[in-house]
Point group: C2
Chain length 311, copies 2
C-alpha cells in the first residue's frame, strides 16, 4: 500500500507506541516513523530494538514536520506533552492520542491546540499486562477495536484518513461520543482493573498468614486477577484519577450488587445465588459469539486438546 502519512511521530515508547510502530512498518502505512520518550533508558532500548526509523531526544524535535502525532503517554501527562510540542507542530498536522479516558484528555489537550492543527482523540482497546519498549508487537491491534471520539468540528477528511491509518494496523475503527466512551470503558476495563488490584492486595496481606500458599495455589481463578493487576501502575493511576465520576458510579453499583450476593451467602439463599450465576453465563456466550475472546477452555492455557483429544 502507499503510505497513509509521510511522517508519523510517537510520543512515548511503551507497549502501544512500540506496537503502532511495528504494525505501521509492516503495513507500510508511514514513510517515516520517529519516536521519543522522556526516559533516556527507554530511548536507548528503542534504539537498540530499532523500534522506529529514528529516536528523537525530546518531543519537540520528534514532532517537527510530522503529519501525524500520536500521544502515547499516560492520560495525566497529555496536557504537559501538548504544551511542550505546541510551538513545533506543523500546520495541518493531525494529533491523536491512545488514552483510556477521553473527556479529560480532550479537556487537557484543547487549550494547547494551535488553530491549524487537528485533534482527533482515540483509544485502541488493545494491550497486554506488559509494558515498556520491549513489550510491543506488530499484531497487537489485529481484530481489536480502536475507538475514535472526534470533536464536533473535526475535519471529516482528516478523520477518515486517520481511520485508514488505524485500519492499516489491523484494527477495526468506530466512533463514539467521549463521555459515553468513558462510561463504557469504566464498565469493561477500569472497574475490573480496580477490583483485580484490590483482590490481589487482599491476598498480599494474607500471604503473610498463609505464606506462599496463595501464590502456590493461585490457579483457581486468582491468577487471572493477578494478570490484570500486573498492568502499568502509572497508566492505571492516571485512568482512575481522570475517569473519576464514571468509575465511582460503577464502583457504587458493584458494591451494591456484591452486598446483595454477600447477604445471600450469609442467609444461605442458594436459589438467589444460582439464578445470579446462571444469568452471568449468558454474557460470556455473547462475548465469544462477538469474536472478542476464544472459547478454548481456560483461554487455551492447557494442552491444545479438548474433548476431541480423548484417546
Amino acid at each position: 500500500m502507499s503510505a497513509v502519512y509521510d511522517k508519523v511521530a510517537l510520543i512515548g515508547l511503551g507497549l502501544i507506541a512500540g506496537s503502532i510502530s511495528l504494525a505501521a512498518r509492516k503495513a507500510g502505512a508511514a514513510n517515516k516513523i520517529i519516536g521519543t520518550a522522556r526516559s533516556a533508558k527507554t530511548r536507548a532500548a528503542a534504539r537498540n530494538l530499532m523500534l522506529c526509523d529514528e529516536i528523537a531526544d525530546n518531543a519537540a524535535s520528534a514532532v517537527r514536520g510530522a503529519d501525524l502525532v500520536i500521544l502515547c503517554v499516560p492520560v495525566g501527562a497529555m496536557g504537559k506533552v501538548m504544551s511542550e510540542i505546541k510551538p513545533h507542530l506543523k500546520p495541518g498536522a493531525v494529533v491523536t492520542d491512545v488514552g483510556s479516558v477521553k473527556q479529560e484528555v480532550i479537556d487537557q489537550v484543547l487549550p494547547h491546540l494551535p488553530p491549524q492543527v487537528h485533534f482527533i482523540p482515540g483509544h485502541p482497546l488493545a494491550g497486554t499486562e506488559q509494558s515498556g519498549p520491549y513489550s510491543g508487537f506488530a499484531e497487537l491491534f489485529v481484530n481489536r477495536w480502536w475507538l475514535l471520539t472526534p470533536l464536533p468540528d473535526s475535519d471529516p477528511s482528516e478523520v477518515s484518513r486517520l481511520r485508514r491509518f488505524i485500519r492499516a494496523l489491523g484494527a477495526n475503527v468506530e466512533d463514539m461520543e467521549p463521555g459515553h466512551h468513558d462510561l463504557v470503558l469504566a464498565v469493561t476495563s477500569h472497574t475490573p482493573h480496580l477490583i483485580a488490584y484490590t483482590m490481589v492486595g487482599v491476598a498480599d496481606h494474607l500471604k503473610r498468614v498463609t505464606e506462599s500458599e496463595v501464590i502456590k495455589y493461585s490457579a483457581a481463578g486468582f491468577r487471572d486477577f493477578t494478570r490484570i493487576a500486573a498492568s502499568d501502575p502509572t497508566m492505571w493511576r492516571d485512568v482512575f484519577l481522570n475517569n473519576k465520576d464514571a468509575v465511582l458510579d460503577i464502583l457504587g453499583r458493584f458494591t451494591e450488587e456484591l452486598f446483595v450476593l454477600q447477604r445471600a451467602i450469609r442467609m444461605g439463599d442458594g436459589e438467589q445465588l444460582h439464578d445470579y450465576f446462571t444469568r452471568t453465563r449468558a454474557i460470556r456466550r455473547g462475548i465469544i459469539e462477538a469474536g472478542q475472546d476464544t472459547d478454548a477452555p481456560d483461554f487455551g492455557r492447557g494442552p491444545k486438546s479438548g474433548p476431541a483429544n480423548r484417546d
Copy 2:
C-alpha cells in the same frame, strides 16, 4: 505401569470426573472405570463418548466392588450421595471427593461412612469454565495441584496409594488441614469467583443502557471476568453456601480494601493508588516464577509472537 486400583467408580460425570477417567485410562492407573450421573442425558452422553468402561444407572450399582470411589458431585450433594452408596460400599474401599470445600464435605460424609471404609477428602485445583460430560480432557491435571486433607485416623498406606493414583493423572499432591484449605481457597478461588460474577452482573444491568457495547468492547479486562463467571452455577452456589465463614471473612477484607482505593480515587490521591498498584505487580511475578501461569502476554491469546517477531 500396573494399575493402582482395580476398579474405580466415579459418581458424577462432569468436567472433573470425565478428565479423571480419561487421564486414568491414558496412564493405565485403573483396570476398570465405572461412572454414573444422576441425569439420564449425562449418562447417555458419557456412553456415546465412551468416557468410562461402563456407565451405571445409579450410584449404588456403580460403587459395588469398587476399590476407589470418587465423589465428583457439587459440594452440597456429597452427604446425599454417601447415604445412597453407604450400604453398597465394599469393605476396605477408599472414598475420596473432589469438592472445592473440605470441612463441610467431611461433616456431610463422616456420618454415613461404614466402619471398614476409608474416607480421604481431596480437591484437584484444576478446571476450566466449561462443565458437563463433553468438557473433560486427559491433560487437565498435568502439573496442577491436588490437595488431600486426610483425617487424623486416615490409614497412611491408603493415603499413599491414593497419592500414587493422583500422581498417575499428572497432578502434584500435597496434604493440608481442611480448615486451612478452606481459607486458602476462599482467597485464591472462591472470593475471586464471587467478585467476577458480581462485576459481570453489574455489566448485565448496564447492557440495557449501553446496548451491546459492553460485550463488543469487552477485551479490556472484563472478558477475563466473564470467563470466570461462566463457571457451573450449581457447583458455585454450593461452594459459597458451604464455605460461608471463610468467604464472608475474605469478602469483608476485600470491601475494606476497595473502599480505601475508592476513597483515594475520590480524593485524587494518586500516590496511594500508584503505591498499591506497584505492590500487586510483585504477586504476579511470584505466580509465574512458581510455574502456575504463563508469562505470555494476555495469556498468549494473541499471535504467538512477542518482541522476537518484530520484523
